[in-house]
Symmetry: C2
Subunit: 462 residues, 2 copies
């Protein structure tokens, strides 16, 4: 019986086999070469006009602890695939590279590196899959969460998706990414414990079903949680549920206590919330809030807000936690430069539909009147205007300084979203954001392409 | 810097807060009640005609190790939410319940419980989120993998999705689920090590780019892996790449070695594979295989197979590992029976669109001529025909016996798929499978509904 859990001790093995076969061949042929790789997204997912970068903290954590344990080496040896000199090297390998990255919460666009690794070719290659897996998840969820938060127009959104998230890690890190991107909290208790995220939760329908009647269930719950509790009122019928909640609220008030809110989790939330609000208001329970959940998306929330339904806060589960309308990021990690025997060679890829930009690059952001007006993707040293977004975060395998707290990242993410051109913040149609390619980068790309096409065009040796 | 990793020591906290608030209230009001919960899928995802059950082994593993560590209790106490008597109870809580489940790899349909928990109400409730999260992921991916394997019509399919899987856990357990459902292996090295799944992998485009020319890259790789290696031939141009691969193959053959295969990872795979096959065949390299990858789906694979493209095996990544066309299972865990003070009460839920079946249930499968012809969802003790699918796997919190090996589960999954009505194995249109409700279950549901509606219909007390 295997739990299938990932630890800091085995996370280096969470990699595609080809990283190790390539590393073995580099170890044989060019052990001292250095390289730069860019991590970026090639295209925007449907309906998205921007992306929100997240997952850096965990990625850096894995890099600082990157190593292959004796069990791993033993397993790899058993495959009879690798030269034993490589396996000896693998035993001692650590990550000593340099990492430059955007701060988490930064908004970014296709082709812009969010993270750049420079180091020994073997080390920089071998961390590819782990970096992609880690950044992909949180960036995907942070991007989706930003849309949901945008739709809610200031009403709190709580992430509720653990049960339908794609696995334990997605449930845990997804809660972090959602909070970073503006959610008010999560239902996920472990995320609360490990990341200090506010946690929310009341009762399920099963709680109501477990009692002989709804009213008895509500009274029992309010006895255990007498202060500011929320009651789920739609197990049988939401109007009758609201009446039962009102009874409990009045009973609480006799003891100087108050009911916090009621929750709707099914059916037509707009109509139901209006009926429920009327019942509560008639009973002078104006400060009892209505919390809504149940298959919510950014679009349904936008509609609820537009139609001024009296819903005070939202719980969003599945749709948020798997980014259900766009569950994939076209995220890649591409070699952009190799340094071999003192010679620096920018590289690119010509495969159909997968072309890349060569050389060590930087993203420069132009701002006017507190709004982002365009980015320039250029070589690192190009003299272009704009604020450079990639900052040093790791040098020779060590962090350059303490990482920002999750709450400061959350403030940064909120500020970033406010600075987007307002048409990019819409939910429906993807809108273009101006990205220019620096003249130096354009030139380098042309030279590189020419060199490769000429090489490829030469007669085949035999 | 927090790694955000899940361990057997903290996995109990991977839960929605409401499981703990409900547990606290049960602890106050009905600490000795017992309950039965069903884990099932409410509706089929788009294009699916059946589901493949997976994830049981990990779920059972978490149940056997279920407990709240001192840090967890300290964190929960700091929230000032729970009665301290409950936190004392939580410290000692373990899972002592009974679990009945279908074997992993079994095909199943909406409303059929795949797993049934009976035990102390608190214990049975508190494991809800963890069970859902664990079963959801693997069932989702196994179901998708079965489609991809079906499309490949006997050609091997390798799961390649770790980098785009939604997190580390999805990458690891997704590889297990894909193998269980018929994939030939995975690129994921950790999945190979922990679960004994065959691992596959060669090189990335970056390897080719890191050398001055493609031919040099191929020669270097073949030197490190001289036996049966695969070369990626589309970094610049796949025809030229095939010619370079042929050169290396001839060089290897002079040393009595042979090239295993070439891989295509972009562009029009049908056209490219035909050109590449011709080049290889002309060079008398008929046994060099062509492996194809690059945004493959079950539909594209079906088309490739239908058009008889000379592709010998497939690598499927993102689309498989997030079940991209249907990334959500409508999976739920519902209370079906409560036993309080010796009285057994079947329960159900009437919420709009979320009705459930009450009572302790069993799924009976009818078979004719080696094919499944229909299922009966009935009460556990109902005298209906058919083979019962839910089997005891845990009694009083202990496994009833050793779990089957992953390879035997894989054989079971293959046999199950072969026994499906052939029209259900198609990829495009969801086809119905006959499911009858047993007379006893129907009667219980009616009585239950009547009781609840009458109760709900009574005048509101005040």
């Amino acid at each position: 019986m295997h739990p299938g859990l990932i630890t800091l001790d085995n996370v280096a093995m969470l990699t595609d086999l080809y990283e190790l076969t390539m590393a073995a061949s580099y170890h044989e042929h060019r052990p001292d070469d250095r390289a730069t790789f860019d991590l970026f997204v090639r295209t925007l997912p449907p309906h998205r006009s921007y992306l929100v970068f997240a997952g850096l903290e965990q990625a850096l954590c894995y890099l600082t602890r990157f190593s292959f344990n004796p069990d791993a080496i033993r397993y790899l040896r058993s495959k009879r695939l690798f030269p034993s000199s490589f396996l000896s090297h693998l035993k001692t390998i650590r990550f000593h590279g340099d990492v430059d990255a955007m701060p988490e919460g930064t908004v970014f666009f296709p082709d812009e590196p969010v993270l750049r690794v420079t180091g020994n070719l073997i080390e920089a290659q071998i961390v590819e899959t782990l970096l992609l897996n880690t950044i992909n998840l949180q960036t995907l969820i942070a991007t989706k969460a930003a849309r949901v938060v945008e739709a809610a127009g200031g009403r709190p959104v709580v992430e509720f998706g653990l049960r339908r998230a794609q696995g334990a890690d997605a449930g845990l890190k997804g809660a972090r990414a959602a909070y970073l991107a503006g959610c008010a909290g999560t239902s996920n208790v472990l995320a609360g414990q490990l990341f200090g995220i506010p946690i929310f939760g009341t009762m399920a329908h099963s709680f109501v079903q477990a009692f002989p009647s709804e009213l008895e269930a509500f009274r029992a719950f309010a006895k255990t949680f007498p202060s500011g509790t929320t009651l789920l009122i739609d197990t049988y019928d939401s109007v009758r549920g609201a009446q039962h909640a009102a009874i409990v609220a009045r009973e609480l008030s006799r003891h100087g206590l108050r009911l916090g809110g009621v929750r709707l989790d099914s059916g037509d939330l707009i109509t139901a919330s209006r009926s429920v609000r009327r019942i509560l208001d008639v009973q002078k329970l104006r400060d009892v809030t209505i919390f809504a959940s149940g298959n919510l998306t950014e679009y349904r929330i936008q509609e609820i807000v537009r139609r001024r339904a009296p819903i005070d806060a939202f719980g969003v589960g599945t749709e948020l936690s798997v980014s259900a309308d766009a569950p994939i990021l076209d995220i890649v990690y591409k070699l952009s430069e190799v340094v071999s025997g003192g010679t620096k060679t920018p590289t690119l890829k010509l495969s159909a539909g997968k072309q890349t930009y060569p050389g060590r690059k930087q993203v420069f952001r132009l701002q006017r009147d507190g709004r982002f007006v365009g980015d320039i993707l250029a070589l690192d040293h190009e003299p272009v205007s704009g604020r450079p977004l990639l900052k040093p975060v790791m040098r020779k395998g060590r962090l350059v300084g303490p990482l920002p707290s999750l709450s400061s990242l959350r403030r940064h993410a909120a500020a970033e979203r406010m600075q987007l051109p307002s048409k990019l913040r819409g939910l429906h149609e993807a809108r273009p954001y101006p990205i220019r390619i620096g003249a130096g980068l354009r030139r380098t790309a042309q030279e590189c392409r020419r060199r490769l096409l000429t090489g490829v065009g030469e007669p085949v040796e035999s």
